[in-house]
């Protein structure tokens, strides 16, 4: 009898695929009664199978372990994806670095007590170091405490950067931890749904401003939307001063133009005097002067002796050291 029914104990379901009403009963009560009768039989079949399962006793009643359901029902969400290994995990695997368990508390030799490894009141806390020994390589004027703090800050920032990089990598695969959202999104969670990006307020305002001013009249005659603000003016406003002369405000315009003019002139005045050229000229003049003076001196000297002897005099004067003899011989000739 039980073989007629298909029983799925995992879902506590019984199915009679052979039953067929020869003719539907006319009255509703009759029909329901027949159905319940048939149902009772099926329920009895389920109970037969269920009560024959090995059970463990409990104060509330016998507890049985149900088998896996045979009718498969669809999942509600896709399977969770596996997180890709982080850069460090990849590196550690390559190098064969295995994580060891560390104690939560460590003995602190400075204070002689047991302290936490991380967190508040931890071992080797930067705040606990009263003295840093000076080294020969230390630069004078650098606060070693501030330097330490700065270095720590940089290390933390670096780690944060790496974490973000790893999260990005995980997001690409779709294996982001459920409590983390990258960028601003509307609703979190679920496996595959694309994350809609939300534009920021500033971005929206700038885009709206651009759109509003893109007509020929710069959006002057457009109808404004409710709550629309005029676009922000990024550049400086140009100021026009009164042209009519006077004292105070009236003289400002003159001052301004004079300022510009003097600036221009001073710039050009620098060019009027070509310093390089002037220096050159001065140098050349000086040279000429010196050479003239020298010539005059030499001419006064030659006036005393014969002018023809001058080169001859010069020669021995220059080569006295080794051509004295022969020159004398020559002279004697």
């Amino acid at each position: 009898m039980a073989e007629e029914y298909q029983i799925d104990l995992g879902n506590l379901m019984a199915f009679d695929p052979h039953h067929h009403f020869p003719s539907l009963p006319s009255s509703r009560e009759e029909l329901v009664k027949q159905c319940l009768e048939k149902g009772t039989k099926l329920v009895q079949a389920v109970a037969d199978a269920l009560f024959n399962l090995p059970s463990t006793d409990d104060p509330d009643g016998p507890i049985v372990t149900l088998p896996q359901p045979t009718t498969r029902l669809p999942r509600e969400k896709p399977l969770p994806k596996k997180k890709p290994p982080t850069k460090w995990e990849e590196f550690a695997k390559k190098k064969g670095i295995v994580q060891r368990k560390k104690d939560k508390v460590v003995f602190d030799e400075q204070t002689g007590t047991w302290k936490r490894r991380h967190g508040y009141d931890r071992v080797n806390d930067d705040n606990d170091i009263p003295i840093i020994e000076a080294k020969a390589t230390d630069e004078p004027g650098v606060d070693p405490f501030a330097k330490r703090r700065e270095e720590k800050k940089q290390r933390v920032e670096k780690q944060e950067k790496h974490r973000l990089q790893n999260l990005k990598q995980a997001a690409k695969v779709g294996a982001l931890p459920s409590h983390i959202q990258l960028a601003a999104t509307a609703l979190p969670i679920t496996g595959t749904q694309a994350v809609p990006r939300k534009a920021s307020k500033n971005e929206l305002e700038s885009v709206a401003g651009m759109a509003a001013t893109s007509t020929a009249s710069g959006g002057k005659f457009d109808t404004k939307l409710a709550g629309e603000k005029p676009p922000k003016h990024e550049a400086k406003y140009r100021k026009f001063l009164p042209v009519a002369e006077g004292s105070g405000m009236g003289s400002l315009e003159r001052q301004q133009t004079e300022k510009v003019l003097s600036k221009l002139i001073s710039k050009n005045s620098h060019e009027i005097l070509n310093v390089e050229r002037a220096v050159n000229m001065y140098n050349v003049k000086k040279d000429k002067k010196r050479s003239n003076q020298q010539q005059r001196k030499s001419s006064s000297n030659s006036g005393k002796s014969s002018s023809k002897l001058k080169p001859k005099n010069n020669k021995p004067f220059k080569k006295t050291s080794f051509k004295k003899g022969p020159s004398n011989k020559g002279k004697s000739k």
């Binding site: 159905c35 389920v46 149900l66 669809p74 983390i180 959202q181």
Partner: protein, 309 residues
């Protein structure tokens, strides 16, 4: 720089983690809502379903004019509600001249519509119209039994589909351990014709029978109704395949060389490779056993012998 957003409080984090995809899913939540117009019958049907599934269902009481599950574009707000409430089953009621007392039961996968069945409700009798002993009333959240009667559930495609949907809707949490004493309700579904199903909810009474198996007795506690199958949409084949995927981690690896016997219990086979005794190096290499020493000693003895001779 990339922005990351995390829940600020522990409670929010837990709530978000509850919604994350899981390897083993516990139970599906149901969203109950209705269209622009509902009839009195339909209102009672929806509230009865809500009471049957109390604890794992959410009921919306506002009109929804943009929801038309079968039409393209009419499912967007439904999918949004599914995402918002984290429900993957929905029961949508509507009433019109063309389709009076219309009930659409559907499932979602990853917050997108998976399949749909449209039913017309006839001959409805609410839970309140039944009178029975107070002791009999099924307890909240108890695991129900199901009975499906009629060949239609196997031969007719619509009814086959309906059977699966009804099972998914009412089965509650998937459990592995069950207290048998806690069984107290049955859903009885009978195929009356190729598109009509009688659906009733009964309480179970366990009576003594003299054996360990008690005699079961059904008492109708309602709701009871005839469901007329109108339209239905089967899931996309690729989507169906994906949703039925079994997690790789949960599939048991085949156990080799182990068998079970009812008398002897667990029996394992062990294979031992041939022991190559001659080639094996002795573990204990004492000084005297070392080969070089032995040989040297022997040589020395040979010399001595020569000298003697």
């Amino acid at each position: 720089m990339l922005q990351i957003k995390t829940p600020k409080t522990g409670r929010a984090r837990r709530e978000v983690q509850k919604r994350a995809p899981k390897l083993v899913e516990s139970g599906k939540k149901t969203l109950i809502l209705h269209g622009t117009k509902t009839s009195d019958v339909l209102n009672t049907v929806l509230s009865d379903i809500y009471h049957l599934k109390k604890g794992e269902s959410i009921k919306y009481s506002r009109k929804n004019d943009s929801i038309r599950p079968f039409e393209s574009g009419g499912e967007t707000s439904l999918e949004f509600f599914s995402l918002k409430t984290d429900c993957s089953l929905f029961v949508f009621g509507s009433h019109s001249k063309k389709r009076p007392n219309n009930l659409v039961i559907g499932r979602t996968y990853d917050h997108h519509i998976y399949d749909l069945v449209e039913l017309g409700v006839e001959n409805f009798k609410s839970m309140e119209s039944f009178s029975y002993g107070r002791k009999l009333a099924p307890r909240l959240g108890s695991k129900p039994l199901f009975t499906f009667i009629g060949e239609g559930f196997e031969s007719v495609e619509e009814l086959k589909h309906l059977k699966e949907v009804l099972l998914d809707l009412f089965r509650g949490e998937a459990v592995s351990n069950l207290n048998i004493a806690g069984l107290d309700r049955v859903y009885v579904c009978t195929a009356l014709s190729s598109n009509k199903v009688l659906f009733t909810h009964c309480a179970l009474r366990l009576k003594k029978s003299g054996t360990i198996i008690p005699r079961m007795e059904l008492v109708e506690v309602g709701p009871s109704m005839d469901l007329l199958v109108r339209r239905h949409r089967l899931p996309d084949e690729s989507l169906r395949k994906e949703s039925m995927k079994k997690p790789h981690e949960l599939t048991k690896k085949k156990e080799k060389n182990v068998s079970r016997d009812s008398i002897q219990g667990k029996i394992g086979k062990i294979y031992m490779p041939d022991q190559q005794v001659g080639e094996k190096v002795l573990p204990n290499k004492a000084k005297g056993v070392k080969r070089e020493r032995r040989e040297a000693k022997m040589k020395g003895e040979a010399k001595k012998q020569k000298q003697d001779s």
